[in-house]
């Protein structure tokens, strides 16, 4: 039944996109014009945006999330403090993404703009920082994604760490390991497949995350390497255009949605498989 829903969704999106697929084929993935007036569509800008925002945000969130999970599981502070932090992280995951988007628009983005300007001034020769930041853009979108996926990585890393048998921990401390000796050499390696699964789940989530990103990324289809300029992701493009689209624009949007669905499906399947593998091991 669930499989039915899944296949059903896939089928609907696929049928919707047939027209556009026929017209643009694989070229759709590599061209970046998106022009409803001339009816010319290519999703490269959005695909680039999706990949760059999700991958960068994972890179930032991974150490933060695993560090937090370690802080919670490895008995660094009294239980009460740790549990409070754990609950707060879970509550962060519960905040609706549209509210995070609102906060990002009015508080976070103005706050970080000077820092982004600094990046541009000092590292403007790097393509990623080559434009002047002004309002919404890819970089603030990345930061709000970090906020959104951090709880996922933290909670899965925490579960994986809790599943590491305590006798392994004792073994490490028993040969005179310091806390971080034990963590890096024994505990983390033992939890690695679960953490990897969590990272992939978070990656899927980051790719599909819509509202907060739509509100802060600028929704521009003009391709630009720079993270400081406005951009688009597949999901933000869907959110901002679908309501008013018609004709072949709808089909092209469906095509983009289909691509997004395929990518997230693959990521999720691998992620589930890794989490499952961890369960079997212990």
């Amino acid at each position: 039944m669930v499989a039915f829903v899944l296949i059903g969704i896939g089928l609907v999106v696929f049928t919707g996109s047939i027209e556009s697929m026929g017209r643009y084929g694989i070229k759709f993935l590599f061209t970046s014009d998106w022009n409803p007036v001339t009816d010319q569509y290519g999703a490269f800008t959005a695909i680039y945006g999706t990949l760059v925002t999700s991958i960068t945000s994972i890179t930032i969130a991974l150490p933060l999330g695993v560090g937090t999970a370690l802080f919670i599981t490895e008995k660094i502070l009294p239980k009460l403090v740790r549990e409070t932090i754990g609950i707060m992280v879970e509550l962060l995951a519960a905040i609706p993404s549209v509210v995070l988007g609102l906060w990002a628009m009015f508080i976070m983005e103005p706050f970080i703009r000077p820092f982004l300007s600094g990046l541009n001034n000092n590292f403007g020769w790097i393509p990623f920082f080559s434009s002047r930041p002004g309002g919404p853009g890819i970089a603030p979108a990345i930061l709000i994604l970090v906020v959104m996926i951090l709880p996922i990585i933290t909670s899965i890393a925490r579960d994986s760490l809790n599943q590491v048998p305590s006798r392994l921990r004792e073994a490490a401390y028993g040969v005179g390991a310091t806390r971080w000796n034990a963590i890096f050499n024994v505990i983390l390696p033992a939890a690695i497949s679960g953490i990897t699964g969590g990272v992939l789940l978070a990656l899927g989530r980051a790719m599909g995350e819509t509202m907060a990103v739509t509100m802060i990324i600028g929704n521009s289809n003009n391709f630009n390497f720079s993270l400081l300029s406005p951009g688009n992701t597949i999901s933000s493009m869907l959110a901002s255009q679908f309501g008013e689209a018609d004709g072949s624009q709808v089909s092209s949007l469906m095509y983009a949605a289909f691509i997004l669905m395929i990518i997230t499906l693959i990521v999720n399947i691998i992620a589930q498989w890794m989490v499952l593998k961890l369960k079997l091991k212990y």
């Binding site: 609907v12 919707g16 933060l64 660094i76 609102l102």
Partner: protein, 297 residues
């Protein structure tokens, strides 16, 4: 020799251990900072706006008026749309969970379904909106209406389904087999056993899952923007379900993007309500879990 037993803070391993511990503490602070900031933001900017007229009035169409009106219809709309989603997904989800835990034979197929449920929960929420748009909105299949509360509810229900199936399934699996055997041994049919014995004893995890799913759905926006759309009017009469409807989340989205300050402020007020409700529901599940845990031990 013995003095070596004493803690030596200048030892390399002790320095690096300290540094790493501090770092992980810092990371934890960074991780919870956004929660504090966001909550502070909606409280400071949202709570101050809340008054009776905001809660009961209609929103005003954008324009640089003195007032942006209220969020009354959006509150009702969120209740209606989430309610529809719950009505669709709870029976199907709980039923699916019961099937998985009680009727299906363990094997490749069951594994596959469980796997599929997990994968479905990873499908981006906007995709379910696109799908409902494709099936219902663009085809006007339901009595010729396009954007409607029903379409929005349906899109949300797709998102709630995997959570409910999963928690039902796992909740039932926790019920001890002895209990089942005892009931079956007394001559109860399988149906009676499940409805009278197994389900009641798994009610806490199932209820928790349902509450969490509803909390999540209430805050969802992406699947609603082009299914339920938005409306500046009250949902009225029998036709209400077949017409575009306002929700808190879409109101926040639309009004946040308006260039007018009054509209932005209304978005903050709506955020405050939404955040409070969603967090309360989450804390409620925590409390339930805590209470039942401490009862058992």
């Amino acid at each position: 020799m013995n003095s070596n037993l004493y803690y030596n803070p200048s030892l390399r391993r002790n320095i690096s251990d300290k540094v790493l511990t501090l770092l992980s503490g810092l990371f934890s602070l960074i991780a919870i900072l956004p929660l504090i900031l966001v909550i502070a933001y909606v409280i400071v900017n949202g709570a101050s706006q809340i008054n009776l007229s905001v809660l009961t009035q209609l929103p005003e169409p954008p324009g640089d008026d003195i007032s942006a009106g209220g969020i009354g219809n959006a509150i009702i709309g969120t209740l209606i749309v989430t309610g529809i989603a719950a009505l669709i997904s709870i029976p199907i989800g709980v039923g699916g969970g019961i099937y998985l835990a009680e009727y299906s034979k363990p094997g490749v197929f069951t594994k596959f379904i469980r796997f599929g449920t997990n994968v479905l929960s990873g499908v981006p929420s906007i995709i379910s909106g696109v799908c409902v748009y494709g099936v219902i909105v663009s085809t006007k299949i339901i009595l010729g209406s396009n954007f409607s509360a029903l379409a929005g509810g349906l899109a949300l229900s797709i998102l709630m389904l995997p959570t409910i199936i999963k928690t039902t399934d796992e909740g039932l699996k926790l019920v001890s087999n002895d209990l089942r055997k005892a009931a079956l041994g007394l001559g109860a049919s399988k149906y009676i056993t499940i409805t009278r014995v197994t389900l009641p004893s798994a009610i806490t995890p199932i209820a928790t899952g349902v509450v969490l799913a509803i909390a999540r759905a209430a805050g969802e926006t992406a699947p609603l923007i082009f299914t339920a759309l938005f409306s500046f009017y009250w949902a009225q009469g029998t036709q209400a379900l077949l017409e575009p409807i306002a929700t808190l989340s879409v109101l926040i989205y639309n009004f946040a993007l308006e260039p007018y300050k009054t509209q932005n402020e209304l978005a903050c007020a709506a955020s405050f309500i939404l955040v409070i409700v969603v967090l309360m529901m989450n804390l409620l599940t925590k409390l339930i879990g805590y209470y039942t845990n401490s009862n058992k031990s």
